[in-house]
């Protein structure tokens, strides 16, 4: 993998600077799209850089700010080009994470004592208090398939929230095969351990998803994906709707996990299955309401909690006529 990267870039940019975009490589053409675009398109108002423009907060609904691609570096800073040093740093970083992992394993599950984990009734999983919190998310839109929607993610006012904003366009790409378009999404990155080992969240002692958001009145869809090793299951997810009110007040959305319905490859399936909470991989928000125009969603935090009043296990039932094999 490192050799391929070296071949593509011919000079490895030091980690603190940005990696060149793979999609710009002529050898690969359009194969790789900028899925992980959030870290490249996040607005950074660094005071030292003359090439960047200051972002103004202003009106959240109508004011589109010019974003600066972060791969343009200031002439004063020359990136240190050293492939071997970068590889060594990467290995040291992973070894340090492995050591932390082993120490956390000795403490208990998730690096905390067992009684803390068992007695926990509420947990904040993601909160947005700094730029490093934005790195745990990625944004994507139909631009990857040739659409015209745009989506950006940045820190909100006083670094107390994250602001997901952009423009939705349902104009279908003119590629001769796409009939529909118009979606923007924000998806959490899969948690990784040392040596990029995939991890998952265990939310089996909670039963409700809790979101503190402030929207513009648009309907969003909350998607949850489970951890899987099988390729076909990567298209499976569990979704539910989140209707934002708009207006200046924060909205607390509680969605029980029993309400999430199952879909595969974007289509809701007749056979519905309960969302199992022991291996959650990622959570995402999707906007695809076919209404062209700007949008925004401000998120304070995302958490989970155990609602003792909610006893429902699964909100949907399967029909023997539609799915006889489930009843064999």
């Amino acid at each position: 993998m490192a050799l391929v990267h070296k071949f593509l870039s011919s000079a490895y940019i030091f980690r603190k600077c940005l990696k060149p975009s793979v999609s710009s490589c002529p050898f690969l053409g359009n194969r790789f799209a900028d899925y992980c675009s959030s870290s490249l398109q996040k607005p950074v108002a660094a005071p030292g850089k003359t090439s960047s423009q200051r972002n103004t907060e202003g009106d959240l609904q109508g004011h589109h700010q010019r974003e600066v691609a972060l791969d343009i570096t200031s002439p004063e800073e020359k990136p240190e080009v050293s492939f071997d040093k970068a590889i060594k740093d990467e290995i040291k970083n992973h070894c340090r994470r492995l050591k932390d992992d082993i120490v956390n394993y000795c403490i208990g599950p998730e690096g905390r004592p067992l009684h803390e984990v068992l007695l926990e009734q509420a947990k904040v999983v993601w909160q947005f208090r700094g730029k490093e919190d934005l790195d745990k998310w990625m944004v994507t839109s139909d631009k990857t398939i040739g659409g015209r929607s745009e989506v950006f993610l940045k820190m909100g006012k006083n670094n107390q929230s994250a602001l997901l904003y952009g423009t939705l366009s349902s104009e279908a790409p003119k590629d001769g095969e796409s009939g529909h378009s118009g979606y923007c999404a924000m998806i959490s990155r899969i948690p990784r351990g040392p040596f990029e080992r995939k991890r998952s969240y265990d939310w089996s002692q909670f039963n409700t998803l809790y979101l503190r958001v402030r929207g513009d009145g648009r309907p969003w869809m909350v998607n949850i994906r489970q951890d899987t090793d099988i390729i076909q299951r990567k298209d499976q997810m569990y979704s539910y709707f989140m209707f934002t009110r708009g207006g200046p007040y924060w909205q607390e959305v509680k969605i029980p996990f029993s309400k999430f319905f199952f879909s595969n490859q974007g289509r809701i399936r007749d056979a519905q299955y309960q969302l199992l909470l022991d291996k959650i991989s990622s959570v995402g928000f999707t906007l695809a309401d076919k209404v062209d125009g700007p949008f925004f969603l401000e998120i304070d935090f995302i958490g989970v909690f155990a609602d003792p009043a909610h006893t429902e296990e699964f909100a949907y039932e399967n029909s023997p006529e539609l799915n006889p094999r489930l009843f064999k």
Partner: protein, 347 residues
Amino acid sequence: MKPPILTIIMLTVISGTMIVMTTSHWLMVWIGFEMNLLAIIPILMKKYNPRAMEAATKYFLTQATASMLLMMGIIINLLHSGQWTVSKDLNPMASIMMTTALAVKLGLAPFHFWVPEVTQGISLSSGLILLTWQKIAPLSILYQISPTINPNLLLAMAIMSVMIGGWGGLNQTQLRKIMAYSSIAHMGWMTAIMMYSPTMMILNLTIYIIMTLTTFMLLMYNSTTTTLSLSQTWNKTPLITSLILLLMMSLGGLPPLSGFIPKWMIIQELTKNEMIMMPTLLAMTALLNLYFYMRLTYTTALTMFPSNNCMKMKWRFKCTKKMIFLPPLIVMSTMLLPLTPMLSVLD
């Protein structure tokens, strides 16, 4: 699943294992394993959801790989010996391949990665069959070829299994994964003694099956799959809660319970064969297993975890699940130690 279909499938599983145990032809051994594998797949997918399908797929892939390795070993043995008979004279290369294949089937380290994943993805009743009945066929073949197995390979796998079974189960809150790591550790104990006394391996297997059956039946009775839900069983079935206490200590190998018998016998047998480090290591790593069993006991029976006021007093309601074999299994899981002198008939 409809009863006639379930009956046919279960009969196929049973007959597959019986074929493996009773045959003396290597091809029939392989056929028995394949029958067993193909029949267990619908049982693993009894509760039809994407997770169970993933677990069944992982199980099928690993077991098919193991069967392929086993067949390779059988062919190599055929090339060298010219006969298909299951005998104690195996070509060394064939022996290594077969041992590796059977280790994959059993879930011995370093081929253990599928066990927690598959066990976690299936229902409790399927997990019960996976961790008990499915061990019988591979162990019977290991028993038959035990004189020709490479001792270094087997001992290395045994030690790794016991250590990984102990360390892996430490931070688990999912009960099925805990039972999976317990299974890995117990398989380690069985393979450690296999070369010196295969009879002790059978004893260990028998007592392990009884204890695991009992544990799974208790979990099915309470419908619990996590440590937190097990900690609330005092509210549902107070008597079962106290029995879980005894059962966990028996699984951990504490005297005077049944689980102590195999550990005692194995350590005694190993020391008779002038091995000191091996039983010391096994006994010390067994403490790791005991630690997480005691942690389950602590949360379940020794302390009352906080619950909220709206929790109903479920013990007032009679449980409708019929577990007719539970009482004798509980007795056998905890009170067999006084029968240990009868083991002299095995000599």
